[in-house]
């Protein structure tokens, strides 16, 4: 995906602007609170139809404005497409080539971004949900239809939990939800296993390049009895069996404690759990390797580079890791958007273009342009 031009109106603190980024690296620099990240958010929204920073649509609309609007011209798979986003009155409308499009429409394949924010550096230490989200994002980047599958699983799970909370003793009803949960869950497990297998060698190679000779390994980690099961139907039976044997426990605790919604991504260094044995620096290198592996995977699977969005990450990395990151970026064929407070953190990269952001206003170059 390449962003050719974007028109931004009423979006957070940004002044109305039409902006055409170059084909390679675009650096947004300026002090905190000036609106650098709002540009990244706008680019993210064009591909994702939502923000990573807020779930509440009105947050996006500038104070005193009726609506926030993005009109993007993007190139996907050699085709020019028009993406329009409108957020107004607490609702968002998303249109692609003039037609209303849903987030999970498979026809939007290729509309892809990879986001790297400072919170990602906490990934090894964060709750398992963050690592599952990392895995799910890699699947979604290649196959948007996955979103609908994950949502269906969540809905059945929440329904089953609602039944457990109400303490209904209808065994047939729980059987029904177990069946549905096992069927939808098996699909999730198989897809997550597949993507983690595809990411694993990339993480290993990237970590070695960034950090040195130490073996890094990621592995999808589920319940022991499900781990042994192979194939979608095998996993489905294992999940169904697990739900059945734990039903008494679930009924006492009034929630579903078994299934892919409790799975995790195990991250190891030299065979030992990274979160327990890794140093701060090693963990940061690991996250860097994982994010770059996600980028490489999505790129290869789609056959074209997604847009890489780096939000204030440079300042969180030490000199060496920063250099590794930027060397990789220098070799990327696609677009990269970077926000940074201090421009000197970003080295001279091929095709680099700088913009300063002051009080929501975008200006080329900026003070002290190299």
């Amino acid at each position: 995906m390449r962003l050719r031009a974007i028109r931004i109106r009423g979006w957070r603190n940004l002044e109305t602007v039409t902006f055409s980024p170059g084909p390679r690296v675009t650096v947004f620099h300026g002090d905190n609170g000036q609106g650098k990240t709002n540009f990244l958010e706008a680019a993210y929204f064009l591909a994702e139809f939502r923000s990573w920073r807020t779930k509440t649509a009105p947050d996006l609309v500038q104070w005193g404005q009726q609506a926030a609007r993005l009109d993007g011209q993007v190139e996907v798979g050699g085709l020019d497409r028009k993406v329009e986003i409108e957020v107004a009155g607490g609702r968002k409308t998303t249109r692609v080539d003039g037609k209303t499009a849903r987030r999970d429409a498979t026809s939007l394949r290729g509309l892809a971004v990879v986001l790297f924010v400072p919170e990602d550096l906490q990934l090894p230490r964060a709750a398992p949900a963050a690592r599952r989200a990392f895995v799910d994002r890699s699947i979604f980047g290649v196959d948007r239809g996955y979103y609908a599958e994950a949502l269906a699983y969540q809905r059945v799970l929440r329904s089953r939990n609602a039944i457990l909370r109400q303490g209904l003793a209808d065994g047939t009803l729980l059987d029904t939800y177990d069946d549905q949960l096992a069927r939808l869950g098996a699909r999730l497990v198989v897809r997550r296993r597949d993507v983690v297998s595809a990411l694993r060698p990339r993480v290993e190679a990237l970590f070695e390049r960034i950090h040195g000779p130490l073996s890094a390994e990621i592995r999808y980690h589920g319940h022991a009895e499900v781990e042994k099961a192979e194939g979608e139907s095998g996993v489905e039976s294992a999940l169904a069996e697990g739900l059945r044997t734990r039903r008494g426990l679930d009924q006492r605790r009034r929630f579903t404690g078994f299934g892919p919604h409790t799975d995790d991504l195990a991250i190891r260094l030299d065979g030992r759990l990274a979160v327990e044995h890794g140093s701060q620096g090693q963990l940061r290198s690991l996250v860097l390797a994982m994010k770059l592996a996600e980028l490489a995977y999505v790129h290869e699977a789609l056959g074209e580079a997604p847009i890489l969005l780096l939000d204030d990450v440079a300042s969180e990395l030490d000199q060496r890791r920063r250099q590794q990151l930027f060397e990789t970026i220098a070799g990327l064929p696609g677009q990269t958007f970077i926000t940074v407070t201090d421009r000197t953190f970003v080295p001279q990269l091929p095709g680099r273009e700088d913009f300063s952001v002051v009080a929501g206003r975008l200006a080329p170059g900026g003070p002290g342009a190299p």
Partner: protein, 199 residues
């Protein structure tokens, strides 16, 4: 003329309660009724009053009806061994429009949705089980929507009905007639392939 408090405001308020009708549309409709001929307005009012006075639920299939039992349940030419289970009365109308179905119906008045507090006891499921307990019904077609809730309801019904020796089937989902394969989404296409039949 002020619209507050009087008959106009009352009508706008009542119309505004209808699904899909906002304040603006409600006002437009109210003023339209006011400007229309008095007969039209009275006809509309009578139609609404009559609807509530004369329509009730059929004691066999639980569809809305004027007579007890309803016309479909009384029709001796229709197959009593075959029952099509639908979520809403509108679905009966949709299936009747096809003209191809000659069995009977059973209206659940909803689908299982624990998140909205709707369990089996809120639907006409007990009535369905009782109806299938006799020797008359041999086969049940579950025609709920292919949504998470619709699917779950169909699985639940099959679990209850199969032990009674009833053949339970689910309506096929897949590629619509006149649709083109390349535009079908993956889930629809996968279902269509799963539900293939020999020709």
């Amino acid at each position: 003329m002020s619209a507050s408090g009087g008959p106009i405001a009352r009508l706008i308020q009542q119309l505004g309660k209808l699904p899909g009708i906002g304040q603006k549309t409600a006002a437009r409709l109210a003023f339209h009724i006011l400007r229309a001929s008095p007969e039209d307005a009275v006809d509309l009012a009578c139609a609404i009053t009559e609807l509530r006075a004369r329509i009730r639920l059929c004691g066999v299939c639980w569809d809305f009806t004027e007579d007890e039992p309803c016309a479909i349940c009384r029709d001796a030419r229709r197959d009593t061994a075959l029952v099509c289970v639908v979520a809403q009365p509108q679905d009966v109308i949709a299936i009747e429009r096809t003209g191809g179905y000659r069995g009977r119906y059973h209206v659940l008045h909803g689908v299982l949705s624990p998140l909205d507090g709707i369990g089996p006891e809120d639907l006409r499921i007990d009535e369905l089980i009782r109806r299938c307990g006799g020797n008359e019904v041999k086969e049940v077609i579950v025609a709920t929507n292919p949504s998470v809730e619709g699917e779950t309801t169909s699985v639940y019904l099959s679990k209850l009905l199969r032990p009674l020796g009833i053949k339970v089937s689910r309506i096929a989902t897949g590629v619509p007639m006149g649709g083109e394969l390349e535009y079908a989404d993956r889930l629809t296409l996968a279902r269509a392939i799963d539900g293939r039949r020999e020709i």
